[in-house]
């Protein structure tokens, strides 16, 4: 399926079902990341229960250096 992640069109296997699986697919499961799905910010505990489907718009952000 095709997802829009961080403004880019990205193809991921259809087996990726949840946000948790999506993060694992990109090897981000141990990183501090925050996910926004279709403009809805997800709490970390909801990653496993939230499904991703074709065409979803996803933002994956993290903390970087700043003042």
């Amino acid at each position: 399926m095709k997802l829009h992640i961080n403004g880019e069109s990205v193809e991921v296997p259809n087996s990726v079902d949840s946000v948790t699986e999506l993060l694992t697919h990109f090897q981000l499961q141990d990183k501090v990341v925050i996910v926004e799905l279709n403009k809805h910010i997800l709490e970390k505990e909801n990653h496993a229960l939230t499904t991703v489907t074709d065409g979803d718009r996803i933002e994956i952000v993290h903390f970087v250096g700043g003042g």
Binding site: K31, I34, V61
Partner: protein, 255 residues
Amino acid sequence: MLNIGPYSFHSRLMLGTGKYPDFDIQKQAVDVSETEILTFSVRRMNIFEPSQPNFLEKIEVEKYKLLPNTAGASTAEEAVRIAKLAKASGLCDMIKVEVIGDPKTLLPDPVETLKATEELLAEGFIVLPYTSDDVLLAKRLQDLGVHAIMPGASPIGSGQGIINPLNLSFIIEQSTVPVIVDAGIGTPSDAAIAMEMGADGVLLNTAVSGAKDPVKMAQAMKLAIEAGRLGYEAGRIPKKRYATASSPMEGLSTV
């Protein structure tokens, strides 16, 4: 002790985490600064580079209170979204509201800052707005119920020090919440002056990260802030126009 919302801090230095030469130097600088509050920004991750290092992985996160900023926002709406993203990390509930109104001066947009602050307070955040040295705006922010006010000493990253000490002193005098001087600090003496004026703390980044020796500068800033605070608590002597001898005039031995 510096009290911000429900939190208490021994250190009055807040340190930014941007633009260090490398993570090792940054880690050493953070350690010697003895800061308890680190600021961060929220940005898109490069999902195709999972091994990219992150400074959060280099430190014991639980030792610090994270103060994410809303840098990158130019409207209240954008700032609120960034704040909510930061909070969804589960690592923090403090937010530095930073709504930049002009790319050249990086001065904060007062109207959008006020709007974002009001909304984030209603959402239950511990809110520390970055603001200009406008005295009435500081008062309006305080009236909203902010947990600290962060007036800039001078434009972000400029290292010009405190360019409007009169306004800053008015803000400090009227404030019933902590005043953290944020942005524009260049030297340890700038930080010391802010503290001598009665500021409750100083937030700086470039003055340390951009110094020739960031670790040494981090230590210098720590000491300057401590010295400035002690000086403020001790109470300075009044300035006088003419000299007053420190040595007694009596008992002078003459031939």
